[in-house]
């Protein structure tokens, strides 16, 4: 009986692995295209010049970011190149301080501190004094305040590093994450 022959199962192992790897490769090509800045799911970096909100989309039946009219960051308009450089620096700050080892990004990371996917839009910023949200977030990063049970450490973030991180958070909040997190900023009663 051929099923008693180990070589039958070896052939199956090779074939299965090769087939699945090929499918993964094809899906990867398509996915990389869609997640490049300017692609279907990820806006270009100059989106930081615009207003970004989080709304329910009845067509997709999920919540998602919506890019609106002009809403300048730190009072200036960034070209694509400038925005790209600023956001690249923001990512370097995030990595150098290992933010992902306390926080999550798109739910990935550590669970000790809040998720930062939509942090740009968090209602919490309303409690801080300051002319604009970008300014509030930058000041917080340079001098974190204790918020309830969890305190953020002071990581020695400079002014220009803070601005870069704010730009990063604003750009990241515009990414379509298939509805994650659900109902951000729109809590409902437990009975619904």
């Amino acid at each position: 009986m051929y099923t008693q022959d180990p070589l039958f199962w070896r052939a199956g192992a090779f074939a299965t692995t090769a087939f699945m790897a090929a499918v993964l490769a094809m899906l990867t090509v398509d996915t990389l295209r869609q997640i490049s800045p300017g692609g279907a799911h990820v806006p270009s970096y100059s989106v930081i010049n615009h207003e970004i909100t989080y709304q329910y989309d009845p067509a997709l039946k999920q919540y998602g970011p919506k890019v609106g009219g002009e809403d300048l960051l730190f009072g200036r308009s960034y070209t694509d190149e400038e925005a790209s450089a600023l956001i690249a620096r923001g990512k370097l700050v995030i990595q150098s301080r290992a933010c992902i080892d306390c926080h999550t990004f798109f739910g990935n990371g550590a669970y000790y501190a809040p998720d930062l996917t939509r942090a740009w839009m968090d209602p919490k910023w309303a409690i801080y004094a300051g002319p604009k949200r970008s300014e509030k977030i930058a000041r917080f990063l340079m001098n974190p305040l204790r918020l309830g049970a969890r305190a953020m450490p002071n990581l020695g973030i400079t002014r220009d590093e803070a601005e870069a991180v704010v730009a990063y958070l604003k750009w990241m909040s515009s990414i379509d994450a298939n509805g994650f997190p659900d109902r951000f900023g729109a809590p409902v009663g437990a009975e619904q």
């Binding site: 899906l27 800045p37 990820v42 150098s96 919490k124 969890r150 305190a151």
Partner: protein, 469 residues
């Protein structure tokens, strides 16, 4: 008993692995403490630093265990010394030194500025691969020599075996995937996309095949399983694990900005991943049955059984609970994930490394049989500890999914309110208590590893005579 040089090197790796296991536990307990002691060591030694050492310790103790196991088994497999073993021995010390430096920098330097110097010498700040680039290069060098040792030995021997061929074929993607430890990508979606190739295709694909090979050899040496049987089974395992796991990668692509089709593909293949794990459990029960739960080396036998059961429970049951997108939307990024992660890593890999440790010990102690009381205590406490931690984190995670995500809308206020809820805080305390139980189990394991098989009763008459008693 005479051993090959490679087996001596294997023992060094297994010993270092055991030490790193302990370090991982210490920093794990420390990480748990931050949850129950607000403001603990703030700005002196933050949670992120403790966690970094904990998770890097996790990856390294398991990897060193795997490498040690392979160095242990290969010369017996091919009945010859490993090729280039002197280089392999050197790289062991290089790796230990590198780990020491990296951990010291993590602990005493912690952070640098937003520049390439930080990336190259301090902290790359990507989960599991925080080690600076110079160390990542070092790991590539060590792994490269290891792969050379394995492949050159097969080449010089002029023959291979089924298990060894599967291992070598597996080593190639395993090493290539590590290349993701280097780049710094601005686009977080792209960063996470490739990062998951490394993490998932390691722990849910190439590592599964690797531990499958190691367990195949373990069964051959532990209970005299026939080569034909274990190889046949290994091929089935590879087909099912990679057949479900390669596209199961998609269960990490639900929410990172990737296209919607990953919800269907990732969810479906991920949901199939427990099926081969049930097959492994059945195989484990079959082996236990044919040997009436007896083996000359009882701790190795029981840790082998624990590997199958732990894998099924931690990865299969706990994974399936949270993998469908409609659930995962709310469980994602909560303690629920940590619950599954702790249980799965332990069941799938930790138990396997301990089985090999005891197998090697029986050989080095020259014992005909290996049994005792201490290993049973350590076995019980380690498994109760991990199950308790996973259970506590599950309660906390479900509470988070309910109140922080579904009800609270995942804002900072929802998160902060959650951290103070009674079920959450009590779960954090329970996790710490079970972590201490796990640590006690480890301490007894250490005692047992030093003492088992050394008593006169465990030696065969021939060994006793040779020892001059």
């Amino acid at each position: 008993m005479t051993m090959y040089r490679s087996q001596h090197l294997g023992l060094k790796y297994l010993a270092a692995s055991t030490v790193l296991f302990g370090a991982m536990i210490v920093f794990g307990l420390l990480s748990a403490l931050y949850y129950v002691w607000p403001g603990f060591l703030l700005n002196v030694f933050n949670f992120s630093t403790a966690k970094i050492v904990h998770i890097n310790g996790l990856v390294l103790w398991l990897l060193m265990g795997f490498i040690g196991a392979v160095y242990w088994f290969i010369p017996q497999e091919l009945e010859r010394e490993v090729e280039g073993i002197a280089l392999g021995e050197l790289m062991f010390w290089v790796l230990c030194a590198a780990i020491g430096v990296v951990v010291a920098v993590f602990i005493f330097v912690q952070y640098g500025g937003a520049n390439e110097t930080s990336m190259w010498f301090i902290n790359q700040g990507r989960k599991y691969v925080e080690a600076p680039r110079w160390a990542a290069l070092g790991i590539v060098a060590v792994a490269g020599v290891f792969a050379y040792n394995v492949m050159a030995t097969v080449w010089k021997a002029g023959r291979s075996t089924g298990v060894l061929t599967v291992l070598i074929l597996d080593l190639v993607p395993l090493l290539v995937l590590y290349l993701d430890a280097f780049p710094e990508m601005t686009n977080m979606s792209q960063d996470l996309f490739w990062w998951w190739w490394l993490v998932h295709l390691w722990v849910e694909a190439t590592w599964e095949v690797l531990i499958g090979c190691i367990m195949a050899w373990t069964l051959m040496h532990l209970v005299g399983a026939s080569r034909r049987v274990v190889e046949s089974w290994l091929y089935v395992e590879v087909a099912l694990v990679l057949g479900t796991g390669i596209l199961g990668l998609g269960h990490h692509y639900f929410w990172i900005g990737t296209p919607r089709y990953w919800l269907g593909i990732g969810g479906a293949f991920s949901a199939l991943e427990p099926l081969p794990l049930l097959g492994m459990v059945v195989h484990a029960v079959y082996d236990a049955g044919t040997h009436h739960l007896k083996a000359p080396n009882r701790p190795a036998f029981y840790w082998t059984l624990a590997e199958a059961f732990g894998n099924f429970l931690g990865a299969g049951v706990f994974g399936f609970m949270m993998t469908l997108p409609q659930i995962n939307m709310y469980s994602h990024g909560t303690q629920w994930t940590a619950s599954h992660g702790h249980f799965a890593f332990w069941g799938a890999y930790g138990c396997g490394v301990l089985a090999v440790l005891y197998l090697a010990l029986q050989h080095t102690r020259g014992a005909e049989t290996l049994d005792g009381r201490a290993w049973r205590w350590s076995f019980a406490l380690l498994n109760i500890g991990i199950a308790g931690m996973a259970g506590a984190l599950l309660v906390a995670g479900m509470d988070q999914a309910f109140f922080e995500r579904a009800v609270g809308g995942s804002t900072w206020d929802a998160f902060l309110a959650m951290q103070g809820r009674p079920w959450f805080t009590e779960s954090m305390w329970a996790r710490l208590v079970f972590g201490v139980i796990f640590a006690v189990g480890y301490a007894i394991l250490l005692y047992d590893l030093f003492s088992i098989g050394k008593k006169a009763g465990a030696l065969s008459p021939e060994a006793l005579a040779a020892a001059g008693r």
